[in-house]
Amino acid sequence: MIGYSAAWLLALPLAGLLLNTFVGRRYSRTLAGTIASGAVGLAFLIAILMAPDIYGSHGEHAGQTLPLWDWITIGELQVPLALLVDPLSLTLTLVVTGVGFLIHVYAMGYMVDDARLARFFIYLNFFILAMLLLVLGDSFVTLFIGWEGVGLASYLLIGFWFDREDELYGSYADCGKKAFVVNRIGDVGLILAMGLIWTTVGTLNFTEALQGLATMSEAPLVLICLLLLLAVAGKSAQFPLYVWLPDAMAGPTPVSALIHAATMVTAGIYLMARTHVLWELAPMASAIAAWIGVGTAFVAATMAMVQTDLKKVLAYSTISQLGYMVLGAGVGAFAFAIFHLVTHAFFKALLFLSAGSVQHATHELDMRKLGGLRLKMPHTARNFLIGSLALAGIPPLAGFFSKDGILLYAFQHNILLYFLGLVTALVTAIYIFRAYYLTFMGEPRDAHVDSHVHESGRLILAPLWILSALTILGGALNLPFVLTLEHALASVVGELEPPVPSLEIALLVVSAMVAIGGARLAWGAYRRHMAWVDSIRATFKPLAKLAQQRWYLDDLYDRQILRGSHTLSQWLSTTVDQQGIDRAVNWGAETALNWSRKLRRLNDGRVPTYVFSMFVGAALLVAYFWIAL
């Protein structure tokens, strides 16, 4: 019964995209959006209906499997296509379809004027289909179908305006290409991890493979985890592969909200939670993951500080928050990583969609030209503020509880991790309130922009308010000491050691104070322009410079790696291929031709030549026999 519904989860977006491809676009412009949103909305309802059964059944393996068909059978390499519905995959399914549905509805308002509206919704439904396959697949290979599928959807949607070019992004089409190719580098990690897993335990099914690997020695597990970490770094935009995500903001804002904030980029965290058994047995790999996570969180937060484009602030913020999630998984707090994934999906989608509302009204996201928008866009401003409070980690909004859980376990793991995470939390509060003040408070800075500011329509605002409600109440999913979500996920990602209550309360207080302090700093700096804040800013000047240059990593990639491979490929195709190999081939042919020209002279048709050569031949024969005998 459950399995049957799981098939519907996939069938609905598939039906939506097929309908829109072959039928919908011919009728009316609103039909495409209605079909697409309806498909995702229905899928969400089905997921809700499945929830009591899945979350209700506690036990060692609460999951239910739905086999679809035998996909690949090559001797020992057997990959049946099957779906696995358990608390973990259902949680992700609910986020994907729930937040996805809201964003579909929002997009009906946001994209209303676009000429390629139907195509947009076809891509969105395709994304939902691939993402659901990713989270519901019961083997590494099935996950990989979705993994690559969401990559394609992301490519198509980043480059949705493939004919556009501007200073901020360059060619939008190139941004899409960059995302796909960088992700493929990460995918190599997943492919090789599958190679190692399959050669070690002979199966790629999650349950069987994890059981088999649990009895292995540490060395192969560390290697598997590091390979998986490469894949995580690609998809979830972690160091050193995060560089594609800021460029991905070239896509329409609903796409940034859905794919590049709420769902697709969290696939890496899902993968880590799904394979938590391995990480627990490979502490070295986990430690590396934790450091990469917290490092990425910090570095990306500093970069978010210095952005002038509102969406880019949110992009770096997403990288930074994903870093928290990787940190959480790295210190073994998988349930909190998933919890933060869920709350982040709420508040980051809210922030992006609010930014989209601004963009829809002003056609401008450069914060230097915005300002004072709260007057004409009060709903958008309030929603953005709610999102900012949650992101900054101000209690009792959702982000506070989820981020604090991660920091709590980081503290128990390694105080340095905790400290860096806490500093990042401070920076987070500063950059998001900086963005809020610059955009919504103060006076309008650009008369032209200000002249056509207006509040967005209902299709845009309704999803915002719903997301706001989720952002405010989302913490209730997993309140400290109650831990609803953690218990629900325990059957999949394992029980967590409960922390000492006094420590937990102390850390909660510290976090709250840091968040409020950060917000206060931003208020002082960007609202009141206080002198003491300026002196602090002066102290951090070098850091700001570093952040502005994106820590020189993009430079390194562009200048060294990209240009290097271009030079190499240029050299191979001209010097080696044309002037080397091909010339050698032609030289061989010409030499043969020359020799045949020379030899041809022997057959010149003159009797004396033939008589002469006959004599030479006879003489040689005689000489041969003379010597031989």
């Binding site: 059978t73 090789l192 050669t199 191979l572």
Partner: protein, 488 residues
Amino acid sequence: MFDLLTLVTFLPLLGVLALFAVRSEMFRKVGALAVSLMTFVVSLFLLVNWNPMEPGGFAREVQFNWFPEIGLSFHLGVDGISLWLVLLTTFMMPIAVAFSNLYVKDRIGQHLILLLLLETALIGVFLALDLVLFFVFFEFTLIPMYFLIGQWGSENREYAAIKFVMYTLLGSAFMLVAVVSVYALTGTFSIMEITRVLPATAGIGFQTLGFLAFVLAFAVKIPLFPFHTWLPDAHVQAPTAGSIMLASLLLKMGAYGIFRLAIPFFPAAAAELLVYVILLALAGIVYGGLVALQQKDVKSLVAYSSVAHMGFIVLGLFVFNTQGVSGAILQMINHGLSTGALFLMVGFLYERRHTRRFADFGGLWKSIPVYCAFFLIIAMSSAGLPGLNGFVGEFSILMGAYAVNPGYALVASVGVVLAAWYLLTAYRKLAQGEIVHQENRADVLSDLNSQELSMLVPVVVMCFALGLFPNLLLDKIVPAVELWLPGR
């Protein structure tokens, strides 16, 4: 005499006779298409009563005396490997014929006759179980291909045609010597007999020389790096139908020859030398991908991508496990479909714009969206996106390679990244960006018409079908591979 295998092989040749009889162009066009379609339908009957109980896993065999004094016989057989290559041939041929019918104006009758001759030769290669018969068919493919490139090609066609023929003949010369030596040693031309006898009787020296001679001939055909430089020339110059045949099928003869002859005849030498072959295959994967990035001509990009893809296939063949070899066989079919379709699409574009240079395009997604949608699907199939056909073979080869040596899989997976890179670069230059040339505007350029769709859609359907249900093929490939493997 009229058994199924002979019929499939010679039906196109019968068609050629009929085409000779009537000179009307219309008749020849319809006739050639009808014959190629009929051959396809007849070849589907190979699937009926599939029962690979014969030794060597052959489901059907037919044998007549040909020249009994020296042990020559007309001997055909089909197993789970050749089956799919024959079906690929008969599937792609009507598409090539339909393309030529639509676009070739010059001496179309002769053009079609050459295509049908090529079909008989190709099917013959894949079905032959007699070494001389194989060699005759193998060499015979050169003749129609030579004329197709030399007569209907682009500006530099004669150079390309001669290079193609001479290069291949050079390889074949060594193979001929090896064929005669094998006969001298075993006294038979029966491929199965030689497979049984030769490994036990031949010393390592003989095996090494024989293996090298066979592999050289096939390496040129595949083409294995660094014997590949004839391929871009031939592809760029060939007419579209010729390119489709070349990429889909002629290259496969090389890989098939290695599978059917070189390795089974000389297993000790193959085991000895496989590292070097694998190194060349890996070099081809990376090299083909890097060089493809630089190409300014769409066709030569696809040609270099073939070098990379064929590198995957050779890698799979030489890792000697079920996954690698089965993946390689499957990938032969997949590459035939997706690269054939890529050349078909380039052909559609060339017939509209009479250029294949990337610089002459850009922004086509705005003017011909249906074309661009199909192009992207095919490009993704070629890049190995899961759900489409290319993935399954590639994945299986990578798993097989990993089991032998993780380093092989690591290097090969660089090719996975490069494939995405050069294909999306091609797509970027063709379809994305603004329209810069007036000739590419929507009111000038027409999107795919129904005739073109009727050629393209079957291939795309197959790409999805084999991506989602690869077991349709693997059910027959894997048992045949498992019969082939022991002792390697």
